[in-house]
Symmetry: C4
């Protein structure tokens, strides 16, 4: 049976619209929304894909394009006939193709050693076009690389768990996070939303949204670790909830962080989502800051989620 | 006869100034203003044109510039005489020009095979300048390409029609929109302005502007579809209007959307305009979201404007 | 004798500090401040200079750097001796230098025809370094070109004169402006500051600052022309002033415009300054908007300052 | 003994958390925080490091990468055997390596003279890959250079000392600063925080934070010098403090400046920190502005910290 929340839920101003009861999470753990959208044209999102794909994938894609363009032009040169080129001795197809491929590569990269060179009208025209394409492609890669470098991103590491710990005589639910980038985050704000299944007045099951009060929701400098605390007092929608209540309501906490990155002075956002299964009861975080040899505080990023059990 | 609106119109703070009665639309359907401005110098808008023209036009322009520069230098080399070059056998003009053109191309792209090379002072000087220009041009193209890639744009798809539908016991005018880009839009706001011809106190016909109240004018996450609803109650300037009233007043709705694009963290704007002819009476939107195989919601962007007739 | 203003002047929150009486203008007509600042190191402002200098100067600077680097390396190759190169026949210095210069140019641009090539250890090392430098330089030029292209700028054209015209039964001081760029400006705001010499309580002459009320100080779309109007009523610091009062007080109006440029979605600023000598009494602006053939309004940017005399 | 402050300290909204008594400064003199953070992966901060390292270090790193890649490929070519190349006469290892190194350099920079060229399958494949890598590397350097150029930075020069000077019948603590960049800063704000050791209610020593009131904390144009003044009246936490009180409490002043840079229209931040040892009692700043020949005010940036002693 679902436990009833008396606080007023948020209206549809979040943008999730009216959603029936669901056991699907609304937000993935990386902060993306668990929604699919059809796109009008697949190429509309080309730039988005190229700047957000992993680096290894990006480099492989570039390499593949380079080899692909090389090969296409090599085939074209073979079709024209290798006798159109100085420096290629005609021979079997594989030999001709390899020579054409190397000429093609020297043209595409504009290295142009010249021991092979175009000798006829057609070969000259295609070689001219290939070197033009080569430059254009690398100009495009320049732009994409800068787009990837300069994309404003926050790299915030969140504790894996929400802890329910004794707090100021009562209890609080909390998580901890740290900025894992060298670039400072300033004027950082955090919001914590709860979504949980509830019954409507007409007994219809649907997902409701609640903004949770948090103790310190904005700090000037996010250079240390930051523990976000929501007190489970009688003003909290979760007052009196048990782990079973959370699980049966498919509770999900959405965490929204925004701040200003100091290197490029742009606003950055980070999101995270916790499910009912991520809550640990009667536990508290262990210290994540120690002093290095010279007395400077040091934040041990990898320990951000470490906690110990406490008595209930 | 024009129907009279009792609500106070907006003052000239929109920036359209005092405009007499007109049947011209103020905003084009793509959100640009239906205004011409003289420019002091045509080159003042070069960058604007180069980053906003369609991709196909952009590439053709680059190709044309490349061929144009190539040809110019080839003609120059012909004027100097092909005897100034190693590797060109002098011959009829067309032959000489083609050879000069290929040399020019190899120089402009810096491929420089070397089977043709400048052999005199003059040819060396021009070739040196051409290769310099070539690099400069491709540096410029790099910059333009990045400018095009990174230009903050929203790609919001609007329903083709405004619908007048039964709503909460009364009626409302509404449209629907969806973000057709993979990049999330957050903290998105929408405004809806009405412009319609009205008679002044001294019976002069002129265009008046009204801001229309909308139910949910700001959402945190625009990851689903969004229906913008203006209730036609007695606080609405359009209360009691018929289709004939709208048409005779040359009614136009201007829709202004702004939000933050998550990939480059910049504010983006989108505008749209509906005319009286775009209003469909007694209709409501069909659902645009279904569930994909794994239970995730899926937004069918192409169906954003689909509606069904309802009884009046 | 100075006319006394009764309104409270602005405090030092403008940043001009306490300045004695002066006949110097505070702001130049292009909106820059009429102040000199020493810099710690001249190179601190290199990027600023390179992206703000006129295009013609920028291109000449690049050309000069290219010729300069070319020449330096050519001299170096001459010092090594041209016998270190294949393809150069040793001869008199000028001949050697020219050959070395052409080799240098082919290396710097990486065109590398190869009819001249380095043949010794030293020549190879320097040629390798030169081609590295060449690529680095053009990478830098790419960055600078993009910096120039994408620099957020407003190109607002202001009327040359402030007009004092009859207005709503009284009088107003006004100027007119238009956005001369194709890119739309949205949410544009304007401020108008007056600075004028006044006597302190202890009869000391000093410059005071006043913010002038303007009728419409913010518009949503700056796609037409915009007339900024300050009414000369009894709440105006300038109430009852004559041209002689303005001149003897060395009155200066500073105009500050800010808005969002739609192409790159960045805030842009523009400033302008009018002196007492720029005020025309009893004049009003002639219309600057007409209708083009198809009925669209057209803004005649060049006519922004055109006015006619009216009776006092 | 610590002097007690009666004003309410700031809560933990600054982000430094609860820190015990410490003699370590919280902020370094360059405005960075005196904190270490572990990073999950060293490469996460690559871009940050590459755009923030000094220029000389950046260029040396690029040069080293270039020589390193050159050398790696040269070794590879030696392993293949120099008989795989036209134009290299096989000889002792050092000779072969040098020839291979020069070929490698000509390939990486795409200069490709062609007096050495790949003659076998394997040498062709590696040369093709090397020229591809070369272009990719220079595309990346283009992006990094632009990232460095365009990084929004403020270059504000602060006086070395805080002065305690007679002020409006009482006393004030003050410092002075100037914008040392040609680019104007507009809408500039400054905040001044004090951190000092205090005893808790339970006699525990800990660091407390106070926001200090300053006379003019925001100016429209930061084109002159700016003196930031905190009056030591009875509303100041520092009222009645002596130099000994400051030193024994390990007082530190953190100065936070933010403004909008006019060239790239971005918000920039600058921070500075003063220790108790930096305070000079009974001193006042000497003028830093004089008039240049033509009557224009001139700010002598290097004199920003110059002061004279005054009687107590």
């Amino acid at each position: 049976m679902l436990r009833k929340i008396r606080s007023k839920p948020l209206d549809s101003e979040l943008g999730f619209g009216k959603t029936g009861s669901t056991s699907n999470r609304l937000m993935n753990i990386d902060g993306s929304f668990n929604v699919e959208r059809d796109y009008l044209n697949w190429w509309d999102n080309t730039y988005h894909r190229l700047v957000t794909m992993p680096w290894i994938q990006f480099f492989l894609l570039i390499l593949a394009s380079f080899v692909g363009m090389n090969t296409l032009f090599a085939l074209l040169y073979c079709m024209l006939g290798v006798h159109n080129f100085n420096g290629i001795e005609p021979g079997p197809f594989v030999h001709n193709f390899m020579q054409a491929y190397f000429f093609s590569s020297q043209t595409l990269t504009t290295v142009g050693y010249g021991h092979i060179s175009p000798a006829s009208l057609s070969s000259n025209i295609f070689a001219s076009f290939e070197s033009f394409l080569g430059l254009l492609t690398f100009a495009m890669i320049s732009g994409l690389l800068y787009g990837r470098f300069s994309r404003p991103t926050a790299k915030i590491v969140f504790s894996e768990n929400l802890l329910v710990a004794p707090y100021k005589g009562g209890r609080a639910i909390m998580f901890r996070m740290v900025n894992a980038q060298k670039s400072e985050l300033i004027e950082t704000e955090v919001q914590m939303l709860l979504t949980i299944n509830q019954r409507d007045d007409n007994d219809q099951l649907s997902r409701k949204f609640y903004a949770l009060d948090i103790e310190i929701s904005k700090i000037s400098f996010f250079s240390m670790s930051w523990t976000i605390v929501h007190e489970l007092n009688d003003r909290s929608p979760l007052f009196g909830f048990t782990q079973e209540d959370l699980v049966s309501g498919h509770a999900e906490w959405m965490v929204l962080v925004k701040g200003t990155d100091e290197v490029n002075q742009q606003m950055v956002h980070s999101r995270h989502s916790y499910l009912a299964e991520d809550v640990v009861w009667n536990a508290r975080f262990l210290p994540v800051i120690d002093r290095s040899g010279n007395g400077r505080p040091r934040v041990k990023t990898r320990h951000i989620g470490i906690y110990e059990r406490v008595e209930a």
